[in-house]
Symmetry: C2
Subunit: 139 residues, 2 copies
């Protein structure tokens, strides 16, 4: 929770409010995703509500699987409120395509691994079908 007098957050408070590790908050600052906050007399970072908003955006987008580069782009777009939002839409659409590809890859993988598992006869490694299926044709 923010210091009631100044409305400012310590790094720990900001981290907790956004379910982020303190180190990660500093990391976002280092790579330029989160603007450098002011400092207290003791050189502690003092964040504002704007920082909280921005960090929440970043975390939410990360949860949705956007990369930090994509988020940088989204933040850039979000800062120009009079642009039209087709670019944002296109980015989300691209991302959706990526996710669809990943899902179908994983499903194929699942099928294959499951087939392998169905063949386990609980014998010795020498006739283990899983090891066999992973091994090359013959050597």
């Amino acid at each position: 929770m923010p210091d009631s007098r100044s409305g400012r957050y310590s790094i720990g408070a900001l981290a907790e409010a956004t379910d982020t590790k303190v180190e990660t908050v500093r990391y976002y600052e280092r790579v330029g995703l989160l603007p450098k906050p002011g400092r207290t007399t003791g050189n502690y970072r003092a964040y504002t509500g704007d920082h909280l908003a921005r960090l929440s955006f970043i975390r939410r987008a990360r949860d949705l699987g956007f990369t930090l580069d994509q988020i940088r782009a989204l933040l850039g777009l979000a800062d120009h409120k009079d642009n039209d939002c087709c670019t944002v839409d296109a980015m989300a659409r691209d991302h959706l395509g990526d996710i669809d590809r990943k899902i179908s890859d994983l499903k194929a993988l699942r099928r294959e691994l499951n087939d392998l598992l169905g063949q386990c006869q609980r014998g010795t490694i020498a006739d283990c079908r899983i090891i066999g299926a992973l091994s090359p044709v013959a050597k």
Copy 2:
């Protein structure tokens, strides 16, 4: 293709045969997944059929999404042919569970992103639903 006289492969030939980059083959050697091969007079690596078999195993397991640590374990098990294969089975089963979790996570993500996309009105960023959905409640 192997040198016809010795049945040995250069690193490039091994890489090509297993659809692996040369650097990756050297990387597997460095991290102890692939045994160090013999060398030619000119200090080139000279691989045998055993190396080819082992690298094929590694690549196939990687394709199936096993981590290098898991592959290390599988290779260790595969080397003791009289062990029973329940351990292998359990590893594959665990891995299948991981994959199922990933698939359902991605599906949830997909739903969420798709809902967001359905709301695009092609207006300005100021009323973009995607940006809005990513942004925190109010600041």
